[in-house]
Subunit: 350 residues, 2 copies
Amino acid sequence: MESAIPSHLQTARSRHRRVPDDYAPPYPSFVARHKPAVASVIMAYFGVQFRGEPTAAATEALARIATRFAGENGPTHWDRAQYVDQAGFTNVVSVAYWDDAGRFDAWFGGAREAWTGGNAGDAVGRFIEVLRPHVARYETLFSSLGRPEGVAVLADGMSGEVQEHAYWGGMRDRIPLSQTDAMTPGGEPRVIRDGARIRVVAHDNLCLIRSGQDWSDTETSERKMYLDDVEPVLREGMDFLRDDGVPIGCYANRYMRVVDAQGRPTEKSYGQSWWKSLAALERWAESHPTHVRIFGAAMKYLSTLGPAAKLRLYHEVTVAAADEQFFEYLGCHESTGMLNAVQVAAAPAA
Amino acid sequence: MESAIPSHLQTARSRHRRVPDDYAPPYPSFVARHKPAVASVIMAYFGVQFRGEPTAAATEALARIATRFAGENGPTHWDRAQYVDQAGFTNVVSVAYWDDAGRFDAWFGGAREAWTGGNAGDAVGRFIEVLRPHVARYETLFSSLGRPEGVAVLADGMSGEVQEHAYWGGMRDRIPLSQTDAMTPGGEPRVIRDGARIRVVAHDNLCLIRSGQDWSDTETSERKMYLDDVEPVLREGMDFLRDDGVPIGCYANRYMRVVDAQGRPTEKSYGQSWWKSLAALERWAESHPTHVRIFGAAMKYLSTLGPAAKLRLYHEVTVAAADEQFFEYLGCHESTGMLNAVQVAAAPAA
């Protein structure tokens, strides 16, 4: 049993963990371990937004960003997913990860200019949402080994069984900064207009979660259980956050289906949401009936099946400093991503 | 909105609350407020144990303790409840409350002698379980005003709406000592034999919860919902703790039905359990499917019905120092109360 916080990020505490030192979780979980030399990571979401079938402009944009990802200083890992949002638009989001800020900075300028620099007339909305957190400002969690996802693909490897999970508050306790900081949000999101581009300047300690499930290995009864019992409850929770999240601090939620290189749906999905604070995410997770049911089902499921479970669950949660964020929208509807956190009349995408 | 911790018990913190200062609970709850002059309270459980119908000795014991309660230096409040335990014995428990240690001490010597002092031959098991916590070592919570129960009957009054509730960790955050102390348990329970009497010396930071429900005011659909949907789930959780609690730190659990002055069941019940630590109670409450369902149902129920709910819920939770405890058993079976926490071959009760 080891701490989710790697030894090189352990500091003298001014804030306690929620569990005693002899706490033993009821089932195993694991976290990604970066090399100690990694100081920060970059998580960059590039979205296109359109109504109905993909337009030529959307298809071309997706091909071009893929080419850029493969080019010099491109990300170590990226994947692509899509969903239909509350306004009926399809959003295809390509998420790319770096663990070297120098390489990202060398790459990003050209990619940004190509993505949101001057294509307002091409009838496809585009957005860029980037966090570049210090490694003390995020955590990961995996229910099993052998198939890292998201930022964990960049890691040097996975931990052994960690202690800080399977209780409310584990998410916070896994973030190294929680040893000394309450990670309280500061300020309100505001808008900067730059021609047709709209940037959102959020606030200190904005929170991002990407929480995924992979049912591709499940068979018969386990697959049926996931699809019939778990997925509908998960979808209900995701829909609630998408449609009614703002009053409880969820600025935006996307329940995404991962797609393959040909754009076809895979048997993986993830929820990705922007939150006013880690505390707001904690409160929803602990008290919203849909998530309480998901958690209860997962506790029972993983405690019972243990290593025999084929369903794979993971997440990554970041609490970003004000200067670790970048949000830019071009031609998107006004409820897109962090635009949903501010009052703005944006140009419709199509 | 006020803190559950009364102002005269607020201290400079070395440990943080689990929620931010701007946390707003989704429904109201209240706590008992004692006069600041009250330094400690006494919670004294007097049990008789027998098989089948009450024996003459049991009936006489119950009458005699009631007379003593009404006598000089007797408790400010007491009530009586009963249940059938895992060994098939009926246990009738009279719980008495004082808020003046001097009065309790003046009263207790004679009562103890009469209860466990020399009646081993009367074919009824007897036990005494007493906590006398400093006021910084316990908390209460009520879903509504107007009908205090348990230790709250002694209080000067009830609070306004308090902030620290409706989230996991609220129980701990309401205990004043949590401002500076993790309340970690220390040591293992051990036995002291004193003739036929068996005393259990537990350990520092032993935890007691009395958690009650009163459905006497509910009507039609609400009553049906409580009896059909909530009570069976509650019972399942109570049975789990009674039968399988020890490995997770629950030494003993009693799911009690409150009885009236004639010994007839009322429409009130409570669970009373002894725990190795507050942390163990927290983990069960948060992760056991039965309690997670209870909590989820209560959240939804109270958030929806609000003040219209007629079901009354309350609890009191104490984390007692080693010198604030007293456990004594005479003629009880070996799984009675805190005897269940130690290995002891006790004389059967009948």
